[in-house]
Amino acid sequence: MAALYEGYTLCGLAPAQNQSNSGVLGVEAERDSDHVVVTDSTRSVTLYKVSDQKPLSSWTVKQGQTLTCSAVYNPQTKEYVAVSDGKVSADVWRVHCVAGGEPVVLFKRGAVRLLDALLSAPQQPIEEVLAQEESIRWSTNIVTESQQFAIFTTEQKGDHFLYLQRLNPNTLQRYRLEREEPGLSPLSFSASYRDKHIRLLYLYPNGHVYQSVVSERGLVTDEGGQAFPLPRSLLLSLPVGEGLLEAASAQALDEAHIAVVGVPHPSAGSGKDFLCIWNTNFQTLQAGKEIAGKIYGQLWSFWNKLFIPHGKTLSVIPYECPKSSLASALGKMRQVKTEGELEQICSTATTFDTAPVEEVQREVDLLLSRTDIQDLQPSLGQLASTLVSRTLQDPAFYTPSSLAQLVHTRCLCHSVCPDLVLLALERKDYFLCQLCLQFFPDIPEAITCACLKAFISLEPDGVSFMETLIARERGPDGLLNGFSPTSAAEYRSDGLGGGGTRAQQDEEMTSPPPEQICPVGLHKAVLLNEVLQTAYSDSFLLPHLKDLSSQQVVLFLQYLQFLYLKYSQDAFPQTHGLRSPSLSQILDWVCVLLDAHFTVLVMTPEAKGLLVNLHSFVKSQVRLVSELGKIEGSLQELNKMTAKKDVGQYSIEIIELF
């Protein structure tokens, strides 16, 4: 939980006469976490050692001159940069410098220059970026891995804009902030960079704290300068007490915490002289501290310290916002892999990137012969996706057996290598599809449907392709991993039941009614059974099911009906195959299929017989179930009667001890 520690005074202040201004122009980081540069609004810059609370050195500009923006420290050159009387070649708004970046000068009219470039050509023309009545309100400078940004906000007739100026190469983006209640302007801004995004946090006088996130890469801008609307999300709605906030500031501390000064404490009345840390994820107040004296709405944070001018002092308040997770609390942190293992995985991954099929196969065999295969789960996923992405790029490369072996470890799942199932479908590797359907717990409904569609519309060619595949991979005694609808001798090819298909014409006059003949071939049935057994959620499956053609739906329904009848007749259908869908799975699929295609089916002439059959069958089943219910009731009574014979209130018994 975040905490605010005991604060201490860094220095005294000489606030302006009317007390509206703290007299501090800025606090900037210096060489390390223990040094800051404080610029006051008159003429001096002072370097402080924070832990000692004492000034190390100080500079003053000549009498008659004033410092117009806070001095910054350039750690690369170990120089300080300050601007006096606001002028270089045009009016300067501020100079920014952060560790890892070069000093940047922001001019009042919105132009941005690197300090070096400016100093080498001091008389260069400075363009005007801002419109006539537009002026800068706040600015900062952010350095990411690849880029340096100057960020500033402006106001123009009550509208607020965010400018994102990239340096080297220079591009500029302009965003328009959404309007808050009329007349309200943001009181403070704070920008941070995390996960390739720049996050802007701003506080309004009504206590609303918004966050807007802009991608580091950003949009491609046309130079027309049209302002994009800047989406925002309400992070917090702080209590404001009576009236609006006047001098307040919010600073992002980390991804979940913000520090706010000048806002009332929720359980201490309407006084606004508090510094609080809020958790934005849980909207909870984590720590609070009363701040004596006037608050000017200024707040800086460097290295877990907050710097606040208040009354006639500048205080330093150390804070802490630890990350916490339940897993660590319960001692369930995963152990870190040893170096050796990681190396092996890395080398295997390189092999996968380049080596021919045989070598990849060898590596996989080697890897899977390890005993601690379960511990390698995350790495296996990485390897599989390497293999998949190479296969996707290189049409000539395919390692069906290696992939099948990897899937067989049960260490993979769909989310780890999302392209695998579609790849298998594309390469018509139905055996691999079957394995994925069987072992992946998290196949999305869209993919399940794609498989279903592919399986239903399999041509006999396709099936035979798969047959050879299975024969190759699993050998002659290979596991026919599925429900056998009929005996192997009755193996049939596809055909729509009801009509005069070839298969039916071959049958003798004594052939069973059409609904008792399996409408699909054995291998197709095996694949369909696998689809039936995957997990899904109705509402996600339904829209994808609509993609099936009516012919496919009818065939599939026929197959489902066949399965259902089979179940109703056989007492123990599971004995037929190792993996077969349960009765309730079959019924669920019938329902969802009917839901998705009911109107189509009603209009389709060849479905009519099927639907009538289904209806009459369901009707008879309902009748049967109600009869069974009655029998159950009677038997239960019988059970109660025998139990009742137990001991009553009193009995005389004989016991024997030995």
Binding site: M1, H265, P266, S267, A268, T284, L285, Q286, A287, G288, P322, K323, S324, S325, L326, S328, A329, L330, M333, V647, G648, Q649, Y650, S651, I652, E653, I654, I655, E656, L657, F658
Partner: protein, 659 residues
């Protein structure tokens, strides 16, 4: 060994009252427990959780909260009174009216100098604890609602109070905080009717964390003494544990993390105590549950076993063995039953059904604390804390006559016992003394008072008069066992004091050996003639009792002998009865203790090889009483726990008063 004809009785409708409040005295390791009928029980956790004292309830005394101040016990209740108890004479010592309406909570500071009570009218009243009484000191500022819960800060300079429904009104529904805890770092923890356990920073008044633990109410909270663990009891019957753990590996930044959930109750958990090693809980379902925390005790030991205490550790049934009558004791009445009869031999149809002869309602507000029926069935006596009554019974005509003239020394008794010939009544009285009265038709006459030499003030809880009328044995809660010679009317001997409380005593009818069974399951046999432990007792101590015998978790509540077999001792606890045959070898550590099933399956000659002294029968369960009648048949009184459960209200969420 032989057959027993057994009268299996299940018509004793014993119904324990719900547990309302508990308080644990860490120094003496005594748990005080209050039930809904106002009765108080004291359990000694250091002595196998033995229920050593019971203070009977009283009509209208609804104890809502309990608190120990040193060795003194206070209660407060909805009658608006604070009561201190006399733990030596097992009665209220005095009662003080708080004048604030019903009292919902009472709490003493750690220093033992102040008592704070929270009242219906919104005041917190402070009482100074004086040596022999308490004195009103002051009122804290009056709050708007009733004070449901209060808690002292360990430094005693602060007090956290919790108001009634007004506080924490969130959205539209009213939330009542039922219980709070105040830690030394000023953290306040609350449990409320919205099912939440909330952790507050007491200094800033801010909510630090909320744990939703139940759909119903969180009724009780208790924090371990080192403040590293917290338990919350809910209306669903669950107890949820939270621990103050570090969320990062470096041990910094501790936080309250929900860790375990125990479900040992079917109904509201109203009272909770977090001892050093266990969670003790009780509530509507009337059972006291001690659930050891496995990180605090050694695993797979007796200490790590969970205990459920469903029955009192003393007998509520009295049997007139000559007349075949049973007397059942309830808090507000007595029932006298005559056992049925069978045709004598073979598997037995009941020829005559058992019959309830008399239901005797008590007089006054105080609940019955003890009762006795003479062996001949001609006398019946009972006592409350304020009165004593004796009745003459005529069983043939079923008539009952109150004996009106009673000696003034016989005003109240902790325990009652008739002599075998029904000519004497023994009543344990104050300061461990026993009053002896002679019963002569139609009156009763005071004879004398027997006093121990030790000067102990602890109450006598066990009495046994020998068959021949010569000896009277007594045991008190200070673990002292005294034997008086009734012929000479003086103390005969004091049995060497053993460190665990006696739970049953009996004197052998022919050998005059005294058998004492203790709460730690040890058995001693002491010769009254030689005034020393018998040879058998020494042998038993030397070899040690079987580990399975010692691991039983209910005490032996009665010992008797079989006149047909002088070597047999019959005793029982809640889950079995046992015949100890002193002539057989003692079971060794590796011997199977429960061997009746095996012996049954063996042919007769083989049995002799496998027999040992402890013949245990588990056919009957939830035993309230096992007695041997004069005709050598056994009476077994069972009270199945399921029957008790079925009389409880439907589980889930019992609303507490006007919430």
């Amino acid at each position: 060994m032989g057959e027993f004809k057994v009268h299996r009785v299940r018509f004793f409708d014993y119904m324990p009252a719900a547990i309302r409040a508990m308080a644990f005295n860490r120094r003496t390791e005594r748990l005080a427990l209050a039930r809904a009928d106002g009765a108080l029980e004291i359990f000694n956790f250091a002595d196998n959780y033995f229920q050593e004292k019971v203070i009977p309830g009283q009509d209208g005394r609804a104890v809502e909260a309990l608190c120990w101040v040193g060795r003194r016990l206070f209660s407060a209740g909805l009658n608006g009174e604070i009561t201190e108890y006399d733990l030596e004479n097992l009665r209220p010592r005095y009662t003080v009216e708080a004048y604030g309406g019903p009292i919902w909570t009472i709490s003493g500071n750690d220093q033992g100098t102040l008592l704070a009570v929270g009242c219906e009218d919104g005041t917190v009243k402070m009482f100074e604890v004086l040596e022999d009484r308490i004195q009103f000191q002051r009122n804290l500022d009056r709050q708007k609602g009733r004070i449901i819960s209060l808690c002292w800060h360990p430094s005693a300079s602060l007090i956290a109070i919790q108001l009634g429904p007004e506080l924490l009104a969130q959205s539209s529904s009213e939330v009542v905080v039922w219980s709070i805890a105040f830690l030394s770092d000023h953290t306040i923890i609350s449990g409320d009717s919205a099912g939440k356990v909330q952790i507050w920073d007491g200094l800033t008044g801010t909510l630090a964390r909320t744990h939703l633990v139940t759909k119903w109410d969180v009724l009780a909270l208790s924090v371990s003494q080192d403040e590293s663990s917290l338990v919350a009891g809910t209306s669903e019957g669950t107890v949820v544990q939270f621990q103050f753990l570090s969320s990062t590996l470096d041990g910094q930044n501790k936080d309250w993390v929900r860790t375990r959930t125990f479900k040992n109750h079917s109904h509201d958990v109203r009272a909770l105590v977090h001892t050093e090693t266990a969670v003790v809980s009780g509530g509507m379902d009337t059972q006291l549950v001690v659930r050891p925390l496995l990180d605090k005790v050694e695993k797979n030991t007796q200490e790590s076993a969970m205990r459920k205490m469903a029955f009192p550790h003393r007998s509520l049934v009295c049997c007139a063995k000559k007349a075949g009558l049973l007397l059942f004791q309830f808090p507000d009445h007595l029932e006298l039953w005559r056992l049925g009869e069978s045709d004598g031999h073979g598997d037995l149809p009941v020829k005559r059904k058992p019959e309830k002869l008399i239901q005797l309602k008590r007089k006054g507000e105080d609940h019955i604390c003890c009762s006795a029926l003479s062996p001949c069935g001609g006398w019946l006596a009972y006592s409350t804390v304020t009165s004593f009554r004796l009745y003459r019974l005529q069983n043939n005509t079923i008539s009952i006559t109150k004996v009106s003239k009673l000696p003034k020394d016989l005003r109240s008794a902790h325990q009652l016992c008739f002599s075998t010939d029904s000519s004497r009544l023994f009543a344990s009285s104050i300061n461990s003394s026993v009053v002896v009265v002679a019963l002569n038709q139609p009156e009763c006459k005071y004879l004398h008072t027997l006093k121990p030499k030790s000067g102990s003030r602890e109450p006598v809880h066990l009495l046994f008069a020998s068959e021949d009328g010569k000896w009277l044995a007594t045991a008190n809660t200070a673990c002292e066992v005294q034997v008086y010679n009734l012929d000479k009317i003086k103390l005969h001997c004091t049995v060497p004091v053993y460190g665990s409380c006696p739970t049953a005593i009996a004197i052998h009818p022919t050998s005059s050996n005294l058998v004492v069974v203790h709460a730690d399951q040890q058995i001693f046999e002491y010769s009254l003639v030689q005034k020393e432990y018998t040879e058998w007792s020494r042998r038993l101590q030397k070899q040690g009792l079987h580990s399975l015998w010692l691991e039983r978790d209910t005490p032996i509540t009665h010992v008797t002998f079989n006149p047909k077999h002088p070597a047999h001792i019959i005793l029982h606890d809640m889950f079995m009865f046992c015949v100890i045959d002193q002539s057989l070898p003692l079971p060794e550590a590796k011997t199977r203790l429960f061997n009746q099933m095996i012996l049954r399956s063996l042919p007769e000659p083989m049995r002799i090889l496998h027999r040992h002294a402890f013949k245990m029968c588990k056919t009957f369960q939830n035993l309230m009483c096992v007695r041997l009648l004069e005709d050598h048949s056994l009476v077994v009184v069972e009270r199945p726990l399921l029957d008790i459960m079925s009389q409880l209200p439907a589980p889930v969420r019992q609303k507490r008063f006007a919430t």
